[in-house]
Amino acid sequence: MTITEALGDSYVGADLSADLAAAALDLARRFHDGATLWVISPQWEPHAHHVAVEFVHPVIMGKRALPSVALVEPDPVAQARVASQPGDLLIAVASADEPAVIDAMRRAQAWGVLTLWIGSGPRPPVGAANHVLWIDSDDPMVPATGRFVLMYHLLWELTHVCFEHPGLLKAPAQECTDEVCVTCGDEGRLGEVVLEPSAESSGATGQALVRTATGEEWVDTTLVGDVRTNDLVLVHAGAAITRLEVSP
């Protein structure tokens, strides 16, 4: 379908509008808790800048200025890694096959960062980001026709509507008991190696400093052997139990 034919339809159907609503509420909740929004778009940097300026300097007078920064250096993963803290937000505007975005979205889980992925064309795999806001069109010109702009405009507008509902900005209480809790139990959390085991310590216990959604901790790496800085590992009960392969 060409761009002009698509103009006959509305751009946002029932599914996408529900995705946008859920994403906006999550965004508002995290901003309410002090999040900074990081934005990457390795293929279309101006979109990253547009998202950031939208939140920082709203076009509607009186709306809150919110912290948002476009990360447009040549290595957006490295930039997002050092910028982001647990509780932050990361939006990518990119196609599903953009390697840096695939990598950043995966690592964001270890950084404790909530992810949104805006794009068009073939979709990313299910679960690739917390929220996937997608335009199902195979036309490569979509990013230049205003439809991505519409998507993040809507996201911004809906997020600010959520601020008018302070009672809903508290995240729903986690279902949690001492015996069985998948959320906070130590079942295997994704971690990213910050400091690999040093030469002195590796002989003894192989302690590596690992970053997870809950902060930094020293973990035993005996089970997984050689680990390097920025490797992804699964952490369980104070030990790295698996090293994840870098995405193909």
Binding site: S17, V53, L150
Partner: protein, 229 residues
């Protein structure tokens, strides 16, 4: 007695205000409202894009054709805008300079280089950040597209005047009632998107730019004899 009343008051009057928002706990209706709002705004965005394309069909063809002729003579495109419109200007420039398909032509956003923008802003004033670049870069075969949702930005207007004097083809994308752009004699083409929403105007600006690019591409793909006919 007074104490009794006071003690009961919060409980006994709470039913009068069941929807005090700080006490809202069920997000279902909010999410439904947000989704409905998203659909309505998206429908309006598409309608406005269609309306703008229809209104300016002939002028878009004329402007795109004139641009193509300049590109074929080695002309290049400068795009100008402030804030969100500067990012849309950058998207438009990269549509021309590295399109997903078709022929690339030289194009860049005059807001893209922070060294140049801050040097000019600091030394000669913000309203001259674009004009001074036009003086440095522009040749009589070039094209400038200025994007402003109000049509009133001083830095764009002074740059357009300068560009026009230097023989540059000048195109303005405006909004609301067109502002100063709608009345500017320095603009060869002015496309005003009739809306009060800055967001919806920007979305239509993108579509107008896309149409200009499409016309340009079509014209540049024709054999020379046909293009002249």
């Amino acid at each position: 007695m007074t104490g009794n009343l006071t003690g009961h008051e919060p409980e006994s009057t709470g039913f009068l205000y069941p929807f005090i928002e700080s006490e809202e706990t069920d997000a279902t209706s909010l999410l439904d409202d947000l989704a409905a709002s998203a659909r309505a705004k998206a429908t309006e965005s598409a309608r406005l894009q269609r309306e703008s394309l229809d209104e300016y069909a002939a002028a878009l063809t004329a402007a795109g054709t004139a641009m193509a002729e300049r590109f074929l003579r080695g002309g290049r495109l400068y795009t100008l805008g402030n804030g969100g419109s500067s990012t849309d200007a950058a998207t438009l420039a990269s549509l021309f300079s590295r399109p997903a398909r078709g022929r690339p032509v030289a194009a860049w956003s005059l807001a893209a280089d922070e060294a140049v923008v801050t040097a000019l802003g600091n030394d000669v004033g913000f309203e001259l950040i674009f004009k001074r670049q036009i003086i440095a870069h522009a040749r009589d075969r070039d094209v400038a597209i200025a994007l402003s949702t109000s049509g009133n930005s001083e830095d764009l207007m002074t740059a357009i005047t300068e560009a026009n004097q230097r023989g540059v083809l000048t195109v303005g994308f405006s909004g609301h009632d067109g502002g100063r752009m709608a009345a500017a004699e320095d603009l060869d083409f002015c496309f005003t998107v009739h809306s009060q929403s800055i967001h919806r105007i920007q979305e239509s600006h993108a579509m107008l730019g896309y149409r200009l690019w499409s016309v340009t591409q079509e014209h540049m793909a024709r054999p020379l004899s046909e293009a002249r006919a």
